[in-house]
């Protein structure tokens, strides 16, 4: 799939970029290539966003394309819908996960349903960027993992990059996409660095990738927990356990093919997320993998997740978040023979 850019973005020399900077470059390149891309939200203008993801864009593109909106998330998403109906490609920001909730009705009742309600006559090419998840010592309402609300909503495409290269590539693709995309940015990975030659193109946004090959277990992660999964796989080597790590990248749609192939190879899988377990995204992963691969399974699919409690205060979040230790313990509960 190629990007429908009006002009190709010239290849630049490799530079070290954080994920925040890669996201910034993706928006910048998309705006340079496509005059219909507009950006608005809270503090995204002169300040450049509280995580500096939109740094410098106001200076380059001006008030008409980059603006600080009134402080109202329902208003931000609702007006983005109107803009998208009228030929623009809005990229809007919810400042933090939990502050997307005032926009819930607009997202669930309109963003997700517009194409279907109008029998495809109206499409909404818009991107809702949401910094999400914890592990940054954030005070309350700053660390929610709300992905299951979005993935439970038919009509939404929900993706989450875990590294700078994907961040750039997936955000370009999300902006170019004719459907609305919930773009979940793991806050704890904003400062992760990589050397990149932009514009970098990684696997298609809606596919999963195998980040590390292994033979004994398929460990399925996305966003903030990919790093934890990789660290676990490294530690497991000493225990003689070979873990295959999958970065889902796309939560909806789910890449049955890539994940299923891995599972049929290893015959064991565990899914990892920060969000609470009950009714969480892992439940969907475990259920559909089991339905489709039951006779290949040597053990039940495990969910290794946050506890079923509200996200804790900074001093207690270490007890909440799944650690490599906890993951290895969980894998140890399977019968291995």
């Amino acid at each position: 799939m190629t990007l429908p850019d009006t002009a190709p973005t010239p290849l630049r020399a490799p530079v070290t970029l954080t994920m925040a900077a890669a996201l910034n470059a993706a928006i910048q390149d998309a705006m340079r290539n496509d005059p219909t891309v507009v950006l608005f939200g809270e503090d995204v203008g002169p300040l450049g966003g509280v995580f500096r993801v939109t740094d410098g864009l106001y200076a380059e593109f001006g008030e008409s394309r980059v603006s600080d909106s009134p402080l109202a998330e329902s208003g931000i998403v609702g007006t983005a819908i109107g803009m998208a109906m009228y030929g623009l490609r809005p990229v809007v920001e919810m400042q933090f996960d939990a502050f997307s909730y005032p926009a819930f009705e607009q997202i669930v009742s309109h963003v997700a349903k517009m194409r279907n309600r109008t029998r495809g006559r109206i499409q909404l090419p818009l991107v809702i960027r949401i910094p999400y998840a914890g592990d940054i010592g954030g005070v309350e309402h700053h660390s929610d993992s709300s992905e299951a609300y979005w993935t439970a909503t038919p009509g939404l495409t929900v993706v989450s990059p875990s590294n700078p290269a994907d961040a750039y590539s997936m955000l370009r693709e999300a902006i170019a996409c004719d459907d609305p995309v919930i773009f979940l940015e793991p806050k704890s990975r904003y400062w992760a660095k990589a050397e990149l030659s932009l514009p970098v193109r990684t696997a298609p946004m809606t596919t999963a990738v195998v980040l590390r090959e292994g033979t004994d277990v398929t460990l399925i992660a996305y966003g903030p927990t990919v790093k934890t999964a990789l660290a676990t796989a490294e530690l497991a080597v000493a225990e003689g356990l070979s873990i295959e790590v999958i970065d889902l990248r796309s939560l909806s749609p789910f890449d049955d093919e890539t994940v299923g192939a891995s599972l049929r190879k290893t015959s064991r899988a565990a899914v990892l997320h920060e969000a609470a377990q009950f009714g969480g995204y892992g439940a969907e992963v475990a259920a559909r993998l089991t339905e489709r691969n039951f006779y290949h399974l040597a053990a039940p699919i495990l969910r290794i997740t946050g506890f079923d409690i509200p996200y804790p205060s900074p001093k207690l979040e270490q007890y909440f978040l799944p650690t490599p230790d906890r993951i290895l313990t969980a894998l140890g509960t399977w019968e291995w023979n």
Binding site: L47, V50, D68, P70, G75, P102, G137, V139, P314, K315
Partner: protein, 396 residues
């Protein structure tokens, strides 16, 4: 003021209340002199004893705020949204309330909590990351500090309405920021309050910024107080750095609410002297010259001058108040050194009124994990002790 545009509103008011004045209502001007009568909006200066009390509370609150900001810079708190410069709004709001009333504050309003008697340690519990809300909300009649903007305003309306339905005298007062008035919840709260004639007071601290966003990006009308007219309640545009005016207007609103005359919206025009929080960099969006202008309008200096002028504040009294503030700062520093271990197992305790088996299971899982870690740590300690013993044997 950045939000004053040329457009003038010709709003006919149905309620018997003055339209918000284009100039803020005030009783004591920037220089510490009694303001001319035509600026006072019919309100009288509080008596000297009341003013002295407000002065003392502002001085103490500021010392606390400065101390906590310093602790945050040292990395000892996760975050702290300072109210430096906004003491007049914060302290007047609390002083206007009776013991039976309820306060619905935001993250910005820690000094309001302090003024209502919450110990520093309990205020700081949330900011240093112990628990989300660290004080006894029922004992102090203060709701948890709200971070999701404007949401608490509806809670205040609901509580006030419950008080009315129960024929009680309790009034609710909620603090809001200028930016928060753009949220749908703020408008719903204003409307519910007016329709239900709820005994509630909205105090909007217009510190002119919502993080980096100036007020003229939030609204096009003259003042936030003007909006009250559209909902059918009185609105007052007040000099938010004049504690005398803020106190006079807020107490009268509280008493009106208590007497069954419904809600009031009060806008205190002030300025956020510090960054939004410690992780913010205001040099990216604010002219540092503004700080100078607002320093000259300082709420404490102004009242100090006025009280000295009328002979209500002696050097000895001022020294006394400063000493009280220093004591509180020392207490605040001291409470940070006291370790406040939070039991991680408490995480499972307050999720439901009826215990759930699934949570009990997860609690047991964490308990086992903690035990195992403790054992490991102990083993490691033994190993270190043994090796130290071995080495010291060699050395002696």
């Amino acid at each position: 003021m950045p939000h004053h545009c040329d457009m003038s509103l010709n709003v006919e008011s149905l309620v018997e209340s003055p339209l918000a004045a284009p100039r803020p209502l005030r009783l004591i001007d920037d220089t510490g002199r009694a303001a001319p009568l035509d600026e006072a909006g019919g309100f009288a200066l509080p008596d000297p004893a009341t003013l002295l009390n407000l002065y003392r509370r502002m001085v103490v609150a500021r010392r606390f705020d400065v101390q906590v900001t310093a602790l945050t810079r040292q990395g000892r708190l996760a975050t702290y949204p300072s109210a430096l410069g906004q003491e007049a709004c914060e302290i007047a709001a609390v002083a206007a309330l009776g013991a039976e009333d309820w306060l619905f504050p935001t993250y910005r309003d820690s000094i309001a909590l302090l003024t209502r008697g919450v110990p520093p340690e309990h205020i700081l519990a949330s900011f240093r990351g112990d628990w989300h809300s660290g004080y006894d909300q029922n004992a102090h009649r203060i709701a948890p500090q709200a971070t999701p903007l404007a949401t608490q305003a509806l809670h205040a309306v609901g509580l006030a309405t419950a008080s009315k339905l129960k024929r009680e005298r309790t009034v609710a007062l909620t603090l809001l920021g200028d930016g928060a008035t753009s949220e749908g919840d703020a408008h719903e709260a204003f409307n519910f309050a007016a329709v239900w004639q709820a005994p509630v007071v909205f105090v909007v601290q217009n510190n002119q910024y919502a993080i980096s966003v100036p007020l003229d990006k939030q609204m096009r009308c003259r003042t936030i107080a003007d909006k009250a007219i559209g909902y059918g309640m009185p609105g007052y545009f007040v000099d938010g750095n004049d504690v005398a005016a803020m106190y006079a207007v807020t107490s009268s609103a509280v008493e009106n609410a208590r007497a069954g005359h419904g809600p009031t919206l009060i806008e205190g025009l002030t300025y956020r002297m510090e960054a939004h929080t410690n992780s913010d960099d205001p040099s990216r969006y604010r002219d540092p010259g503004d700080l100078e202008i607002w320093r000259r309008r300082d709420p404490i200096t102004r009242l100090d001058t006025y009280l000295c002028e009328i002979g209500a504040l002696s050097d000895a009294e001022r020294a006394d108040i400063r000493a009280e503030a220093e004591d509180l700062a020392a207490d605040t520093r001291e409470c940070m050194t006291r370790s406040a271990p939070v039991d991680p197992l408490e995480l499972f305790d307050h999720v439901y009124s009826t215990p759930r088996a699934a949570l009990a299971e997860q609690r047991a899982f964490l308990a086992a994990e903690l035990d195992e870690h403790a054992e490991h740590a102990e083993h490691a300690e033994h190993a270190v002790a043994a090796s130290v013993a071995a080495h010291s044997g060699v050395n002696s």
